[in-house]
């Protein structure tokens, strides 16, 4: 009995070592995901940011079929990186609405002129209020909304070239 008990500290150490080693080898996913997946888009109404491009409201998005909702900003570097992918999605027939976080009219104009404009509508979210109500934790983030206004999926971070086919497949499933 005593002999076996003597091994207990070593067993405890080995267990702790295994936990720490596995944490080092496979770091935990620190992505903060929205808890709204499977739930209706919260009600919001944002004014337009640039002339000729309508603002965005949840009421206007309802009943228009599935679409992407891109949360972006002109000051966000990964948003520049994902722009070509959004242009490809738009070319493939995916409607994309956007919420611009903490942005200004001239900055957005310059940004769209530089990277292209895939957006049907852009809402002006000056103090991240709608971003917070979406459970979005940064820019860029993209939400897939179905025809009934339910949030189906969230793509956190910039959309990579290899993600485009997956997003297209997700979108076509909703039609």
């Amino acid at each position: 009995m005593t002999r076996r008990v003597l091994w207990l500290p070593l067993v405890g150490f080995a267990l702790l070592f295994a936990v720490v080693a596995s944490g080092l080898m496979r770091p935990a996913d620190r992505t903060v995901r929205s808890a709204l997946i499977g739930k209706p888009l919260p009600a919001f109404s944002l004014p337009p940011l640039i002339p000729g491009k309508p603002g965005l409201s949840s009421a206007a998005m309802a009943g228009q079929g599935p679409r992407l909702l891109n949360v972006f900003a002109s000051w966000c570097v990964p948003c520049v990186a994902e722009a070509p992918q959004l242009m490809r999605l738009k070319a493939a027939g995916v409607p994309i609405d956007a919420i611009a976080i903490r942005d200004t009219t001239p900055a957005i104009r310059r940004f769209l002129a530089r990277v292209g404009d895939p957006y049907a509508r852009i809402g002006d979210d000056r103090v991240s209020a709608v971003q917070l109500s979406l459970g979005s934790s940064g820019v860029p983030e993209t939400f897939l909304i179905d025809g009934k206004g339910i949030v189906v999926r969230q793509y956190v971070g910039d959309i990579r070239p290899e993600q485009v086919d997956e997003i297209l497949a997700d979108f076509r499933k909703l039609r």
């Binding site: 903060v32 808890a35 900055a107 103090v127 971003q131 917070l132 979406l134 459970g135 940064g138």
Partner: protein, 133 residues
């Protein structure tokens, strides 16, 4: 100056990329009513900044933390209870947003461990006192 100019020009796109909008109205301004401000402050200390995940929104300098402080102060000012505001945020971001973990299947071990360890301590103490007798 002539040497500096190219450097300034080279940096200007980076400067243009920086956020240019002002912080939200109540991000860094206390509420006029001290009781309300105290309630808001207490709630802000238990809410996690989603950008800088190790800090509460009361401690963080991130713009988004400022926007979250503004949201908390606005809602407290409008008479909403801190619990309702926390629940609203948990509905958006999940339990992760709160530093005060609720009892659930995932956190049950966290809550039960102190009790279990206390029980283990009592058991060991009893065993060793008995041996001494």
């Amino acid at each position: 100056m002539r040497i500096l100019l190219p450097i300034v020009l080279a940096l200007s796109p980076a400067i243009a990329l920086a956020q240019s909008t002002a912080p939200a109205a109540l991000a860094d301004t206390q509420l006029a009513d001290p009781t309300q401000e105290a309630a808001a402050k207490a709630l802000m200390e238990t809410l996690r900044c989603v950008v800088c995940q190790g800090q509460s929104i009361a401690d963080s300098d991130a713009t988004m933390a400022g926007d979250m402080r503004a949201l908390v102060r606005q809602r407290i000012q409008a008479g909403e209870s801190p619990i309702a505001i926390r629940d609203w945020l948990i509905g958006r971001y999940g339990d992760y947003i709160s530093y005060d973990p609720p009892l659930s299947a995932a956190t049950s071990l966290l809550w039960a461990t102190p009790v279990l360890l206390l029980g283990l301590g009592v058991w060991i103490a009893r065993a060793s006192f008995r041996r001494r007798r």
